[in-house]
């Protein structure tokens, strides 16, 4: 794994020169120029602001430029709860992004639905779009998000494009009608 992104500076020659592989160089360039599309829906936005503002300053990691058009972005931050009603919007925004594109699930709700275990909430955005990094927390500390961003940069540097997957809670809609709670006689025979 380490050799994939190795950059080797050879000393001794008069001016010095570096050798590397082209894909390693490209990945190195990609990971420090993430243009982000913030899909911000809920209270995690407060921590997202903390992340972007000077104290934590995500600009240090080359991901400071938000692009409010998905066509110009390559990192989709999904920050907050996504409802079933929003799921088609999220899918469409993801599809509008140009390759290479990455998705970061910011916080517990985006990762797995959080405590919204009900009829209205999408149980994790990975049900509709592939997710590269999950950052847990309700909301996550900016340090946690920076750690997630570095994980993503590491993944980009390795050239690893496989999405992560989290198992959902059992969904009665998918498990079949037998698993539904029947409350009395509410259907006419």
């Amino acid at each position: 794994m380490g050799e994939v992104s190795s950059v080797r500076v050879l000393e001794g020659a008069e001016r010095g020169f570096a050798t590397t592989r082209l894909d390693a160089l490209l990945n190195w360039a990609k990971k420090y120029s993430l243009f982000q599309y913030p899909f911000v829906t809920a209270c995690c936005a407060m921590e997202f602001m903390g992340l972007a503002s000077p104290r934590f300053d995500v600009a240090r990691f080359g991901a400071e430029a938000p692009r409010f058009s998905p066509r110009q972005a390559d990192l989709l931050w999904v920050v907050g709860t996504v409802s079933q009603r929003q799921a088609p919007v999220l899918r469409r925004i993801y599809e509008q992004m140009a390759d290479p594109k990455y998705v970061l699930a910011f916080g517990t709700c985006a990762s797995c639905g959080g405590f919204y275990d009900n009829y209205t909430t999408l149980p994790g955005i990975d049900k509709v779009v592939p997710v590269d990094v999950y950052v847990p927390g309700c909301p996550p500390r900016p340090e946690g998000v920076i750690d997630g961003l570095l994980l993503l940069q590491d993944k980009i540097a390795r050239g690893d494009r496989t999405p992560g997957i989290v198992k959902p809670r059992s969904d009665v809609a998918l498990a079949g009608a037998d698993s539904l709670v029947q409350l009395g006689k509410k259907e006419r025979a």
Binding site: M1, G2, E3, S5, S6, V7, R8, Q84, R85, A87, P88, R91, D117, N118, Y119, T120, T121, L122, P123, D126, K127, V128, V129, P130, D132, V133, L150, L151, D154, K155, A157, R158, D160, T162, P163, G164, I165, V166, K167, P168, R169, D171, V172, A173, L174, L180, V181, Q182, L183, G184, K185, K186, E187, R188
Partner: protein, 193 residues
């Protein structure tokens, strides 16, 4: 606090006020459903009531009762400083006959509240100008705040991705990512040692 209003209602409508109660400063009148708008109009227009603020309208599902549903409306008077709660009991156990007059002609602000009530409980407000779902989507089947709707039953608008439903974390060797960052050039670290 506003028991005077209850007395006024009883004097004005008689047997159409099914029962009244006062507890902890909250005064409640249970109204015959057919007199719903009439009572509301009186509460707004009568100078002794002057209910000029519509606070809320919602419903409650009591699965064991008959009628099964209770529509609850909260009103307040800025001028008089009193408030009142009025209820109407409608609908049988199959949620048939779940109809009541809309209060939009009386208080404009009732519009979206009644849409929400329709969305969540399926109460049809007769005379509402635009009775559509407001929180859930058009494709949603059923009314989620009824007690016989399973609370966790989702109705996804988009097909879930394949393969996400039967995999457990930690992931297999071929997917996800190993925990923790890796040094980008291991070999150079070794050289340094």
């Amino acid at each position: 606090m506003s028991q005077k209003v209850l007395e006024l209602l009883k004097a004005q409508f008689g047997s159409k006020i099914l029962e009244t109660s006062s507890q902890f400063g909250d005064d409640t009148a249970v109204v015959e459903p057919s007199a719903w708008r009439e009572v509301a109009q009186f509460l707004r227009d009568d100078s002794r009531c002057a209910m000029n603020m519509f606070t809320d309208i919602t419903a409650v599902d009591y699965p064991d009762r008959d009628p099964r549903f209770e529509v609850v409306c909260h009103l307040r008077s800025f001028d008089k400083g009193h408030r009142i709660r009025m209820k109407a009991r409608i609908g049988d156990e199959y949620a048939d006959g779940l109809e009541i007059a809309s209060l939009v002609p009386v208080w404009e602000g009732a519009n979206w509240f009644e849409r929400e009530c329709y969305d969540m409980f399926g109460v049809r407000f007769v005379g509402h100008p635009d009775l559509r779902r407001i929180l859930m989507y058009e494709e949603f089947k059923g009314h989620p705040l009824r007690k016989d709707y399973p609370a966790q039953q989702t109705q996804p608008l988009v097909q879930y991705r394949e393969g996400v439903l039967d995999k457990l974390a930690p992931f297999g060797a071929d997917e996800g990512m190993p925990f923790g960052r890796q040094t980008h050039d291991i070999s150079r670290n070794e050289e340094a040692n």
